[in-house]
């Protein structure tokens, strides 16, 4: 009985993660960006990234962007996630999905020619769920998500853009450049009332900075959880970014409380 109770959260979260990633995988297909839908793109930009260098030097993304290699990875990823939903306790299935997701996001971003990183969320989640003990992986994932957002403020401070109101407006005008030609578009409201945009921008920066506190307390996890959705869906709607793919990492803020509750019962 005790053994069963211990395993139950693991089973539930692996199944849930498999299901959410399967939705994300379908969303990629719906958006026309499964590797097999890309039509063997000519470029594969590794930027200055050592992981991309290693894999590309071995010809791995090139293979998976090729005409039949792309089908292999797309099918492996889809089947692997379905298997994870049905057999969540099979460790090899989760590990295989960690590898497939890694190969998918590296191949995809290499061909994208710019490393956007949103799909790393799926990889980080799978990796966390493959680590034993289960709670350790989820703790690690939580710290990683905290770091992801806190470091975003760090980069802005280091690059001097955190204090620049003009940079905040530049982000909007560059992301919505096409809409600037449309006089009736909502983007003009923010340009005519920049203080409204600045309230949103600086609130987001404060929220990113608050993640540093998360390294010392779990009391703010609900704020981070809700903020994660507000922030990334806001980015999607207002700035037309696809970084919202990272939202699956929201699970990092939920399970520990549930796990702790489970422990007190056992």
């Amino acid at each position: 009985m005790k053994h069963g109770l211990r395993k139950r959260p693991e089973l539930f979260w692996r199944r849930l993660a498999g299901f959410l990633l399967l939705l994300l995988w379908f969303r990629q297909g719906w958006g026309g960006v499964w590797l097999s839908q890309l039509g063997s793109p000519p470029f594969a930009n590794p930027e200055a990234d050592w992981l991309y260098w290693l894999l590309q030097a071995l010809g791995i993304p090139q293979f998976f962007l090729g005409s039949w290699g792309s089908w292999v990875l797309d099918i492996a990823l889809g089947l692997g996630l379905v298997m994870q939903c049905f057999f969540p306790l099979k460790a090899w299935v989760v590990r295989l999905n960690v590898l497939s997701w890694l190969l998918y996001f590296v191949s995809y971003y290499a061909a994208f020619t710019m490393h956007n990183h949103g799909l790393i969320g799926g990889f980080a989640l799978q990796l966390a769920l493959s680590i034993k003990p289960f709670s350790l992986g989820l703790s690690g994932l939580r710290y990683y998500v905290l770091w992801m957002h806190a470091s975003a403020l760090g980069w802005k401070l280091a690059r001097g853009t955190a204090w620049s109101p003009q940079h905040a407006l530049d982000v909007l005008t560059h992301q919505q450049a096409e809409a600037l030609h449309d006089a009736g578009h909502w983007v003009h409201f923010f340009l005519e009332n920049p203080w409204v945009w600045w309230i949103g921008w600086y609130s987001a920066l404060i929220w990113q900075g608050m993640h540093l506190l998360g390294f010392f307390t779990r009391k703010l996890d609900l704020v981070f959880f809700v903020g994660l959705f507000v922030f990334h869906i806001g980015n999607l709607l207002l700035l037309d970014t696809t970084f919202s793919d990272v939202l699956v990492v929201a699970l990092a803020y939920v399970p520990l409380a549930w796990m702790d509750r489970g422990k007190t019962h056992t």
């Binding site: 026309g32 594969a44 350790l136 770091w147 280091a158 853009t161 005008t173 600037l180």
Partner: protein
């Protein structure tokens, strides 16, 4: 809490604790250097300052926009590839940033074999402009048999209202 958690980890699994420590130190080092070095270390989220005024790109054939027919994610993918094509088209004689990074990390004089392998697999200079343009003609919504050529339209906004057109050469039949 994080120090306590790390200490617990150190007592139970020293290898993993060292990996976490290496990650934190690595992140601090690479952030200080300002280089994107590993995928999971860099989350700028609009931190880089903009060097040029806003502009946007469209892909046109005849009078219709090819991009408008694509789903959002594919559109973003094609726009990014078109930008990459343009950069290379505009600086065909210049050395690519990746080629520079290869030379910096593995100078040809010291590591001739590694240098040659990386050049072959990482550097995109061997992909010709015409060869890569052929991929754009294979996109859905593009008529590769018709008389109209595919154009990349780059349109500035604000004070930079210039519109530039770049022709993508048709692939050889």
């Amino acid at each position: 809490m994080c120090v306590k958690d790390w200490w617990n980890l150190w007592q139970k699994r020293k290898g993993l604790a060292l990996a976490v420590l290496a990650f934190v130190l690595g992140q601090a080092y690479f952030s200080f250097k300002g280089v994107e070095t590993f995928p999971w270390l860099h989350f700028g989220m609009f931190s880089a300052p903009y060097q040029s005024p806003p502009e946007y790109l469209d892909l046109e054939q005849g009078l219709h926009s090819v991009l408008k027919e694509l789903p959002a994610k594919k559109r973003e993918f094609v726009v990014q590839n078109a930008k990459f094509w343009l950069q290379r088209h505009q600086n065909e004689t210049a050395q690519s940033p990746v080629a520079e990074a290869i030379e910096q990390r593995f100078p040809s004089a010291k590591f001739p074999q590694v240098h040659a392998l990386l050049h072959k697999n990482l550097n995109q200079n061997h992909v010709s402009s015409a060869e890569s343009a052929a991929w754009f003609y294979s996109l859905e919504g593009v008529n590769s048999q018709g008389p109209d050529l595919l154009l990349i339209r780059l349109r500035g906004v604000g004070e930079n209202r210039i519109t530039e057109y770049y022709t993508l050469p048709k692939p050889n039949p």
